[in-house]
Symmetry: C2
Subunit: 230 residues, 2 copies
């Protein structure tokens, strides 16, 4: 009958510190100090530092994915076919709210997962395949929503949606410096809508064209600027 208290203290402290500073900047001694437990407790409860990180990644990943899937399910309703925008919203909404939303919606789990997706430390890299399966569910939903859309385009759309969301989270500072505050980063719902609309537009524009437009033809190559000297 283990009293998981110490265990939980370690997990919470590690989640927070890793989310704040990144994996490279946090030592086990930092974690146990923040958790108020003994150094040896980590190896006692988790076996090793890597196993602690792996457990964090698994549990926090599940939590994030659950939110996304719940929104997806709600969007698809009974018909099993949702509006493409609703699907995209379910894909990027939870993470964006968890990282950039008002304080009461922020979650350390979301911050941690972003950190994990950025730094990709060895113990995490080994497990990451699980994420692929999760994203496949969204790809399937998108296929049902836009049955005429070229399949590669669907994946590109999904990929770009995640790209925009994640990069915005990571690079909040640069964007706000660059735009001198003109880009409002506090209004998450507007940001979500911006990303969703952009991706929906590129997906429907391509689907509307009937067949995938030129992606490898000479007219594309010809756009390439002349070789520039060194």
């Amino acid at each position: 009958m283990p009293s998981d208290r110490t265990r939980a203290l370690i997990l919470d402290a590690a989640e927070r510190l890793y989310a704040e500073r990144g994996f490279g900047e946090v030592t086990l001694r930092d974690i146990v100090a923040a958790a108020g437990v003994n150094l040896a407790a980590v190896n006692y409860h988790f076996g090793s530092k890597d196993e602690l990180i792996a457990e964090l990644f698994v549990t926090r990943g599940i939590a994030t994915n659950r939110k996304r899937l719940a929104e997806l399910k709600e969007a698809e309703g009974n018909e099993g076919r949702a509006d493409i925008k609703a699907i995209l919203r379910a894909l990027v909404g939870p993470t964006l709210r968890g990282c950039l939303g008002p304080d009461n919606e922020q979650s350390t789990a979301a911050h941690f997962m972003i950190r994990a997706s950025i730094e990709s430390v060895p113990p995490i890299r080994r497990i990451k395949n699980r994420e692929i399966d999760h994203l496949r569910k969204f790809a399937a939903a998108m296929r049902r929503s836009l049955p005429d859309c070229d399949e590669a385009d669907l994946y590109w759309g999904l990929h770009f949606a995640l790209a925009m969301a994640h990069q915005t989270i990571r690079d909040t500072e640069r964007l706000s410096k660059l735009s001198e505050g003109k880009c409002n980063l506090d209004d998450v719902e507007a940001l979500i809508e911006r990303i969703v609309e952009a991706c929906a537009m590129m997906l429907t524009a391509r689907a509307g064209a009937g067949r995938p437009p030129a992606r490898n033809e000479t007219d594309v190559i010809s756009r390439r600027p002349e070789r520039l000297k060194g």
Copy 2:
């Protein structure tokens, strides 16, 4: 009259190793072994590991920026006003070619800069402001190209273009696994065109609307799904 040979050997080896494995996974001993020089040479020529990294970031950053600015200049020609697509192409093209293009176009400098933008290690974080100034030149070019476009939208477009490009470079593996090879990652020019078209579309769609569309109104908020349990 210093014989910069050792110095250059260290820079090249460090650039390559950091680009391949990331900053966290490369030690000075790895670098000097790859360079075939003595361990103390690093501190002799650069003062410290951090200064070595900083110098790499500065020189390689300048090299990358020069390519982009050359393409931008060519796009703007004499008129000082370029097609928005050409501007975006100049923004994302060089890095994408340097990282995903055919072997003869790949550059360790581009790979290194991507790594630097991902991991953001302390010595680099201190200098990064230089990048903002560089991007401002592209923002200015975009403003000249689309004078009627809302300024915040311009920054968002620039930001998303970089987001798509960088994330594609970083996450090649996931996208290719997810799409089971359906997304052709070998054809860089097609990828560039895909990103450019997507961003141009979102910029012109918004500009065409006459004024920035609803970004903070209630109809946006209302799209938000109901609060989900758990």
